[in-house]
């Protein structure tokens, strides 16, 4: 038992070691990449061993816990640096280390010739470490450490090319990094407040405690009628309050309405970063948080309802925005927002297994798509605009093949991974939650998903190269095997949780206590209808953009659909204008205030009165005091005597 405990401590230790080695010892691009990749591969192998051990345990106590040390002890609250490895953590850790390892290997070729490879690989390792801490922590505070750690790494990696003033499509990396950071801060404040509420009412931040039952999760039921007074705003149930605050954190980290604006701009980072952080792992942390603390949301139906609304709306907004994009990575970014919306909606409806299932399959095929698009960008010499592509099928056959697999999986085409997981969510919305609005929205989003993937494939691979100056070539190097492996995984990913077999459901049952839903014939028909619709929509998208509409696209021009939809299309393209709204509501007034403070307050008050005024006063005072230093010994002796008199007087009279 103890050996197993130390084994799970090794899982985050490997990436940390890789980070430290890359920062302090290892020099040279090749060595950086090798060390980073090996550390993640080692972490993956360790995870696999840990999972095998975990599978051998009895279902009712299927977890490995280890407290490495007591981290903080403040008053009655003690926060331990403790790791917790249960089936939910296991699947997350497998995804993080597995996909992470592939992306690290992929990066060796992708980042070849970069000016700062050591920094890149060190931050990637640090990211994997932080993400593992996030999913493996046994308390909210350590989770928050990982939560902030991944945010920091996201910031650092989005800004990897901070010295470039402009990357496609017109983003400044340093600004994009700051934007991601600030948007996440808004959410993190909510999570922090949730933690404070939990500490003040339950006295612990541990999920389950060292014995599995003494954490705050088990105390929630007793507190379900506790309310918090909000002064003039009435009162709110404690659990609901915590849940709402957590939602804030979730929408920030998982790029949901209304904080998703940072994710499209996050594409300014290198593509493997987008694949690892902004598709497969970090952005799913919000989903993980909801599932991990599902007891909170189970007791707060009002909060869960909002989760569903947020998730479904975001799914639709993301899908509509993805349809209109021309930047190959921006399509995928909005697609990720949309798919995260699916997961959040599923989690809000209580379909935690479905959410995790979609999280896993999405992690596989979205990583594949990002890596594929990265390979395309690599082969096109940093061209990301799909209007300048086209006809890449002839030039990049391997990439075409794997990209098609990823696109089909994302579109939810039978029998690829995306079909099973997305279908499970929609089916749940229809049959179990019986929420027709959400079903319709999700279905619509799903059809749009197929459409924009068809459009993307057509724009990228069909026809001939539109930009005559481009010289597409396919040179994969270490990028080849990660693409192959992820392609196979995207095909087979659905096996995890097939209807009737539901391995994932059984595996997660000790954590989530959710029985697999019975598979009925009507569900099968429902699924068949959706898949037919999706196929039709995808084919339509492909057909339109490889045929008549596609022929009218020229580099730098509007999409032909803009002609028909006009401002609606424009609105979609701007991500429903949230960026514009934030710009007007927050950024502009803030800038104005800053300018005012700079010109008036800072220069007049701070510089004029406080800085120079205080300096002048000190100077004048010093000149006055300096006169006492007349160099005369008798005066010094007199001052000494005055001191004696005062001190003796203080002691004598005061005593």
């Amino acid at each position: 038992m103890t050996q197993i405990s130390w084994l799970i401590a090794l899982i985050p230790a490997f990436p940390l070691a890789g980070f430290l080695l890359n920062v302090f010892l290892v020099r040279g691009e090749r060595a950086n990449g090798t060390v980073a990749s090996l550390s993640i591969v080692a972490a993956f192998i360790t995870t696999v061993i840990a999972v095998i051990n975990l599978a051998g345990m009895a279902a009712e106590s299927r977890y490995i816990a280890i407290t490495l040390w007591d981290w903080l002890a403040v008053g009655r609250v003690t926060v331990s640096f403790g790791l917790w490895f249960d089936p939910l953590t296991a699947v997350m850790a497998l995804l993080i280390t597995g996909v992470g390892a592939l992306i690290h290997i992929y990066s060796i070729t992708y980042m070849h010739g970069d000016s700062r490879p050591g920094r890149y690989f060190a931050y990637m390792n640090l990211f994997v470490f932080a993400m593992l801490i996030l999913v493996m922590s046994d308390n909210l505070f350590l989770l928050f450490l990982g939560w902030e750690g991944v945010g920091l790494c996201s910031f650092l990696l989005i800004g990897h090319w901070f010295d470039r003033k402009h990357v496609a499509p017109g983003i400044v990396p340093s600004e994009a990094a700051a934007k991601a950071f600030v948007a996440n801060r808004v959410g993190d404040a909510g999570l922090l407040l949730a933690m404070m509420a939990i500490v003040s009412h339950f006295g612990t931040l541990s999920f389950f405690g060292s014995d599995g039952i003494s954490g705050f999760v088990s105390k929630l039921t007793d507190a379900s009628f506790t309310t918090i007074s909000l002064g003039a705003f009435g009162s709110v149930g404690l659990v609901s309050g915590i849940a709402f605050l957590m939602i804030l954190g979730v929408v920030g980290k998982s790029a949901q309405l209304p904080l998703f604006v940072w994710l499209p701009d996050a594409m300014a980072g290198p593509t493997p970063v987008s694949a690892l952080i902004h598709a497969a792992t970090m952005v799913t942390a919000g989903v993980y948080l909801i599932v991990r603390t599902h007891a909170v949301f189970d007791l707060a139906p009002d909060a869960s309802g909002w989760v569903v609304i947020i998730g479904a709306t975001t799914a639709l907004i993301g899908a509509t925005a993805a349809v209109t994009q021309f930047d190959i990575k921006r399509v995928l970014a909005y697609s990720t927002i949309s798919q995260l919306g699916f997961m959040i909606a599923a989690a809000g409806m209580g379909a935690y297994t479905a959410a995790i299932f979609h999280l896993l399959t999405h992690g596989l095929f979205k990583a594949l798509l990002f890596l594929g698009s990265g390979a395309i960008i690599h082969g096109m010499h940093d061209i990301q605009d799909m209007r300048r592509m086209g006809g890449l099928r002839k030039h990049m056959p391997v990439i075409f093949l794997v990209y098609i697999v990823g696109a089909l999986a994302l579109s939810g085409i039978f029998p690829l991974a995306g079909f099973w997981s997305k279908d499970e969510i929609i089916t749940h919305a229809w049959y179990s939650a019986q929420n027709i609005n959400v079903t319709v929205i999700l279905l619509l989003s799903s059809l749009l998903t197929a459409f924009y993937m068809g459009r993307q494939v057509a724009l990228t691979f069909a026809g001939d190269v539109r930009d005559k100056d481009a010289h597409p070539h396919e040179d994969l190097g270490t990028m080849k095997w990660p693409l192959y492996i992820l392609a196979v995984a995207s095909v087979l990913g659905g096996l995890m949780n097939l209807p009737g077999v539901h391995w994932l459901n059984d595996w997660l049952n000790p954590v989530l206590h959710q029985e697999a839903e019975l598979f009925t014939l009507s569900m099968g028909i429902f699924a068949a209808v959706t898949v037919l619709l999706a196929t039709a929509s995808g084919y339509l998208g492909y057909r339109m953009y490889s045929g008549a509409v596609g022929a009218r696209i020229k580099p730098g021009d509007e999409d032909p659909a803009h002609y028909y939809l006009g401002d609606i299309w424009k609105g979609f393209e701007m991500g429903w204008g949230l960026d514009y709204v934030y710009q007007r509501i927050f950024v502009k007034p803030y800038r104005t205030l800053s300018t005012f403070l700079h010109d008036v307050f800072d220069q007049q008050a701070i510089d004029g009165i406080l800085v120079e005024g205080s300096a002048g006063m000190v100077g004048r005072f010093s000149q006055a005091v300096a006169r006492i230093q007349n160099g005369n010994v008798r005066t010094y002796a007199l001052v000494f005597l005055i001191g004696v008199v005062v001190l003796v007087g203080y002691v004598v009279i005061g005593a």
Partner: protein, 100 residues
Amino acid sequence: MLPTIFYIGLSALLFVIGVCGVLLRRSTLMVFMSIELMLNSANLALVTFANQRQSLDAQIMVFFVITIAAAEVAVGLALLVMIFMRKQTTNIDTMTTLKG
């Protein structure tokens, strides 16, 4: 045996006279003598307390104070002679090199 307060009062009076000497006289030699007077008044207080408490420790201490005072006077006067040789005066107000 007289009350202790008599001796202590005398000691205090002598001490303050010594303080006045240090502060008011401008000849370095006079300042020096005043310091010796202050030392003596402190010694007197110590011996008084030794008598009051019937403990020899304070008397031993006075012995050491006298020893150190002898050494101090020797070195101090030697320095004074050096200063006089350089400045041709013992006036303390001319020694203002500490001026800031």
